[in-house]
């Protein structure tokens, strides 16, 4: 890593972009654009009725939150596992390439 601080800045930027709105709109409920889309459809064509229902519906907001958290956890788990794997491999290889002076004397 040439300039590790860049990564820290990238992360700070992303965190600020998503946390600042929470602070700005404190106490207000955030609406998902997807559900606003549905409202928009209802405005454009009030007569429209959805003709198909989801086969499995999470029972309530709690379960849905759990399922989404699970998806995020699996995704970030796999992502970070592989990144760790690569990092370990790279460092091991570096260590092998540059033997310590002690080994030279032997």
């Amino acid at each position: 890593m040439q300039k590790p601080s860049i990564n820290v800045w990238l992360l700070t930027g992303a965190a600020m972009l998503s946390l600042a709105p929470v602070l700005i709109h404190q106490g207000k409920e955030f609406k998902a654009t997807d559900s606003i889309n549905i409202t928009a459809i209802e405005q454009v064509k009030p007569s429209y009725k959805p003709w198909f229902e989801p086969i499995v519906k999470p029972s309530g907001g709690e379960v849905e939150t759990f399922l989404f958290a699970t998806q995020a956890a699996i995704g970030s788990g796999v992502t970070c596992y592989i990144l760790g794997l690569y990092k370990g491999r790279t460092e091991r290889r570096k260590a092998e390439e540059v033997p310590t002076p002690v080994e030279y004397r032997d």
Binding site: L10, K28, V44, P54, F68, A72, I82
Partner: protein
């Protein structure tokens, strides 16, 4: 503290930060991703399915070709898929008081090309449609077209155009940013086509649907660009071997294409 130690601490902090960020930003109860189940008239639902399927098939072929030639790239493929998986699970709050998804297909596109991501994105959408009642089976074709086909295509074109000038990091950032925005632009087009306004027709409806996410999506697109660049930087440092294999593979493919032509 030596420079080396500082680096290690900074990397560690960034990794902890990424995990923390992913957990903190993750889900508030959500309604539906992109177009909800049943919210496209049957004709349009079928139309988008028909459009999306060829890309999915080509993507499967592309994946088989890559993994057959280089089985060791499967790990990197899993990383690209997992990145999309996590980013599309996040409902990130935005400045104007609503929240929306990033898509996360940019990283995989830059690594493997757009067709591979049409499979990955399609699978993520299928998972969400089946288990989370998020999006839907009838609207899967349309959602796959916006998120898993047009988005990656845009990322691919933008990345290659900017990478030529030598600014690779800027290329990664811009490709992801525009991929994210175009995904939602396509969603608005799809909705406007299916639900043209009685007065003003397609354009009036399009403006209405675009205005739903226009402001919301811009900070999210920037966030997605930053996060993708973060993972990209790590791959530059730790995944050089795979990146080299991929580059050679893609060059080889081009050579093959040239000899055939």
């Amino acid at each position: 503290m030596t420079a080396c130690q500082y680096r290690k601490v900074a990397t560690l902090l960034a990794m902890v930060g990424l995990s923390g960020y992913l957990v903190v930003a993750s889900p508030t109860p959500a309604q539906a991703m992109h177009i909800a189940e049943g919210y496209l008239p049957p004709v349009w639902a079928v139309f988008w399915w028909v459009v999306a399927i060829p890309f999915f098939v080509l993507g499967l072929r592309s994946i088989t070709r890559i993994t057959k030639a280089h089985p060791e790239l499967k790990v990197l493929l899993a990383l690209a898929g997992a990145f999309t998986f996590v980013l599309s699970a996040l409902k990130i709050p935005s400045v104007n008081g609503s929240s929306s998804h990033p898509t996360g297909t940019g990283l995989g596109t830059i690594l493997f090309g757009p067709l591979v991501m049409s499979v990955m994105g399609g699978l993520v959408l299928l998972f969400q449609a089946l288990l989370l009642a998020h999006g839907g089976l009838t609207t899967l074709g349309a959602n796959a077209f916006s998120m898993a086909i047009v988005g990656p295509m845009v990322a691919y074109v933008v990345y290659n155009a900017i990478a030529k000038t030598g600014h690779q990091k800027i290329a990664v950032f811009c490709a992801t940013l525009l991929e994210d925005l175009c995904t939602y632009l396509v969603t608005a087009v799809q909705l406007a086509l299916a639900f043209p306004a009685i007065q003003g027709g397609f354009m009036a409806a399009f403006i209405k649907f675009v205005s739903v996410f226009a402001i919301t999506q811009i900070p999210l697109a920037i966030s997605e660009g930053l996060l993708t660049l973060l993972v990209w930087n790590w791959l530059q440092d730790y995944g050089q071997q795979e990146l080299k294999t991929l580059r050679l593979f893609q060059q080889g493919k081009n050579l093959d294409a040239e000899t055939i032509n």
